[in-house]
Subunit: 368 residues, 2 copies
DNA sequence: CTGAAAGCGCTTACAG
DNA sequence: CTGAAAGCGCTTACAG
C-alpha cells in the first residue's frame, strides 16, 4: 500500500524494459504470449493501476468526456446523467459535469471550462432554443430531431403521435395540450405529434404555462377546471412536471381522473408511477440515446487522431431518432361511459397495445 | 487556432526559460513584476491554456474530485450535483460523476473507479445504511449528523423539530409520519425531530412505505384516507416524494388539503412549489453543505502533500450541521375551524415566522 | 530575479 | 520479440 506501483516498478521487478511492460499491458505491441502473461501477473501482484495523467500526457487524450446540461436542476438530469455515465464508463471514459444553470451564456462557458479541463469531447443537452457552435472539439448534441446538428434524440414527434392516438382510442375528441415554452424544439415536436394525431379527428388547444406565469405569477392556477367544464376531456402535458401540476389542480377542483378527464405526461419521471392516479406517459430510451451519443463522440475523437479503424461511418437518420415507449397507467382512461376500446384494460394489468404502429408499448409496473 | 500553445512556445517567443514562464503563470516563484506582466500578456495573446495533464503528472494532483451518490436517479441528485459542481468549480476543481445505482457494492466500485481515474478526493452521499470505509484517499461524506464519520449534513433532526412545531402551531395533535426505510439515518433523524416536537403534545404514528410495498406492491395505496377519517389531521412525509404521493392519494379520496388535513414534505423538490396545493417543506442549504464538503476535502488533500498553510483546522460540530429552512406553502394550514395561530397567513404571501426558533423561515415563491 | 535540468508515468516510433 | 530513447507539458528544487 505504499505509493502506487508504476510501469517502471514492474519492469525492474522483472528485469525487462518499460516499453515491453507498456506493450504487454496495452496488448497492442507484440509481446510474447508468455512474457505478456508474466508481466500482467506481476502487475496485478503489485496492484498496478495505470496513471491516467501519464497516459493523457503522452497520448493527448484524457479519456474524459464532458456532460453539459442546460439546467442540471431539471428533473430529467438524473436519467441523463445515469445513462451517459454508464455508457461512457463502459467505453472507458469518465464523465465530468458542467452546469449552465439554465443560462445560455453560461452554457458556452461551461463547455469551455470542460474543454480546458481536458475533456476529449462534450455531450450537450442544450437549453431550449440554443444552438451549439463550433467549440473546436467533438460534440454530441442531444435535443430533438428537428434541431440542426442534432446527434441523437428520442423521437419526440412520434411520441406525441402515440400519445394522441392513445387518447383518440380512448374516445377523447377534445384535448388541451400543456407546454411551457414555444422555443423548445423538444416540446414543439411533441406537440406537433399530438396535433397530427388529432388532425381531422378531434380538436386540440394549446396552453403555454410560461405565458400564463408571466402574467399571473409562478405557480398560478392554469384554469384547467374551467376547460374541463367546457368539454375538454383530456390534458396532454409535454412533460410529467406539467402533468403533475394538471393532475393536482384538477383533483383539487374536484374533477376525477380518469373518471372525468384523462391526463398524460412525458418522460416517466421517478414519481410518475406512484402518484394517485399513476401517470400515463411516454418514456425515452435513455440508455440507447446515451450509447449512441457516446459512440458518436468517441468515433469523432478517434477520427481526429487517425486512430479510427475506418472512415467515420455515416449514421443513418433513423438511427438518430430513438422510439419512445408508451407507458399506460391509471391517469388515462376511456371517456365517461365509453367502453374501453380494443384490448385496452383500464388499469395496470399486463402489456397493452395502444396504437397501430408496430412499436412496442408496454404497461409497466414499477419495481422499486 | 493551430495546436494549443504551451509554456515552451511562450518561453521561445519571449526568449526566456520555461521555468520562468511557469513561475510567472502560477504567481508563486519570484518573477519581476514587469517580466511577469509581459509573460502573461504573451500567454493571453497566444491563447495559452495550461495542460492539466502536464500539471497533474508533475504535481500528482488531478484537480478533479469525484462525486458518488447512492442513486444518481434520486430526484435530489440535481440539487447535490449543482451545488457540488459549483463549489468545486469555484475552488478550481472539476467533478467526475460516479453512479452506484442504489447498489451498496457498486458504491464501492464507483468510488474506486473514480480514484483510479485520478480523482484527488471523493464526495459521497452514501446509500441508506452504508458506511464508507477507508478508501486510501480523502473523502467527504454527506449523510446525516448521526452517521459516524459524517463530514457535513443538513440538520435533519432540527428540520423535523421545526416541521413538528409548525404543525403543532396550526393546532394539529395527531400526525402520521410517512417514511420509506427504517435504515436511513436521514429519515430517522427527521422522524426523530418530528416526534420530539410532538412528545407530550400530540400523538404520532409511523408509516413505512417500504414495508407496505413489500406486501402490497409498488405504488400501492397507503391507506391515508382511512387515517384521515380516524382523526389524523396531518401527514408529515420525510420526503417531498412521499408527500406528493400522500397529497394525490388524499385528493383522489376526496379529502381536501389543507381544508381537511395538512401535508408536509422535506427537500423542496423542483415541483413542490407548483403543485396544487403547493407543498410546505423543509429545504437543505445545499450551497453551504457543498461548500463545506469541498473545503474539507481540499483541506485534506493539501494536508496530504504538506502544502497546507496550517495544520488542518478542527471543524466544530455545529459547523457540520447546517440548519434547514422551513418553506410554508398551501398544503399546511390550521386544523378545521381553528383560527390561524400567530402571524401565520394561510397562503403564499410574504415571509411568515412559524416557530419560536430564531431561525429564518420564509414563504417563498418560485421564480422560474 | 532568472535559467538549466531532472522528473512525473506513460506511449511510440525506431533499432536491434 | 524486446529495448533504448525521446517526448508529451508541466513543476520544482537548485544554481547562478
Amino acid at each position: 500500500m505504499a505509493s502506487r506501483a508504476n510501469l517502471s516498478d514492474i519492469a525492474k521487478a522483472l528485469g525487462v524494459s518499460v516499453a515491453t511492460v507498456s506493450n504487454a499491458m496495452s496488448g497492442k505491441g507484440r509481446v510474447s504470449q508468455e512474457l505478456g502473461r508474466t508481466i500482467r501477473e506481476k502487475a496485478k501482484e503489485l496492484g498496478y493501476v495505470p496513471s491516467l495523467a501519464g497516459r493523457a500526457l503522452s497520448t493527448g487524450r484524457s479519456h474524459v468526456l464532458g456532460l453539459v446540461l442546460a439546467d442540471i436542476a431539471h428533473p430529467l438530469f438524473p436519467q441523463f446523467a445515469q445513462a451517459i455515465e454508464h455508457a461512457a464508463s463502459e467505453a472507458g471514459y469518465g464523465v465530468l459535469i458542467g452546469d449552465s444553470r439554465g443560462d445560455v451564456e453560461a452554457q458556452t462557458r461551461a463547455i469551455n471550462r470542460l474543454i480546458e479541463r481536458g475533456a476529449d469531447g462534450i455531450v450537450v443537452v442544450p437549453r431550449h432554443g440554443t444552438r451549439i457552435g463550433d467549440i473546436g472539439r467533438p460534440v454530441a448534441v442531444i435535443d430533438s430531431a428537428s434541431t440542426p446538428g442534432n446527434t441523437v434524440a428520442a423521437d419526440h414527434w412520434n411520441g406525441g403521435l402515440e400519445i394522441g392516438r392513445h387518447l383518440l382510442e380512448l374516445g377523447h375528441r377534445s384535448v388541451a395540450i400543456i407546454g411551457l415554452h414555444s422555443d423548445s424544439n423538444v416540446q414543439n415536436d411533441r406537440i406537433g405529434g399530438i396535433r397530427e394525431a388529432f388532425a381531422g379527428r378531434g380538436e386540440t388547444r394549446l396552453i403555454w404555462i410560461g405565458e400564463m406565469e408571466r402574467s399571473h405569477g409562478s405557480g398560478c392556477p392554469l384554469g384547467l377546471v374551467r376547460l374541463a367544464e367546457e368539454g375538454v376531456t383530456a390534458f396532454a402535458a409535454v412533460s410529467d412536471l406539467h402533468a403533475l401540476r394538471a393532475i393536482t389542480e384538477l383533483q383539487q377542483g374536484g374533477i376525477s381522473i380518469p373518471g372525468d378527464v384523462s391526463v398524460t405526461g412525458f418522460d416517466d419521471l421517478i414519481w410518475a408511477g406512484v402518484i394517485a392516479p399513476s401517470l400515463t406517459t411516454m418514456r425515452m430510451d435513455m440508455e440507447r440515446i446515451a450509447e449512441i451519443a457516446i459512440a458518436d463522440l468517441i468515433s469523432q475523437i478517434e477520427q481526429e487522431d487517425g486512430r479510427a479503424t475506418s472512415p467515420r461511418p455515416p449514421v443513418s437518420p433513423d438511427q438518430r431518432s430513438i422510439p419512445m415507449e408508451l407507458i399506460i397507467r391509471q391517469s388515462s382512461g376511456p371517456v365517461l361511459g365509453l367502453p374501453a376500446a380494443g384490448a385496452m384494460t383500464p388499469v395496470l394489468a399486463g402489456p397493452a397495445s395502444s396504437s397501430t404502429e408496430p412499436r412496442r408499448s408496454t404497461t409497466r409496473e414499477g419495481s422499486d
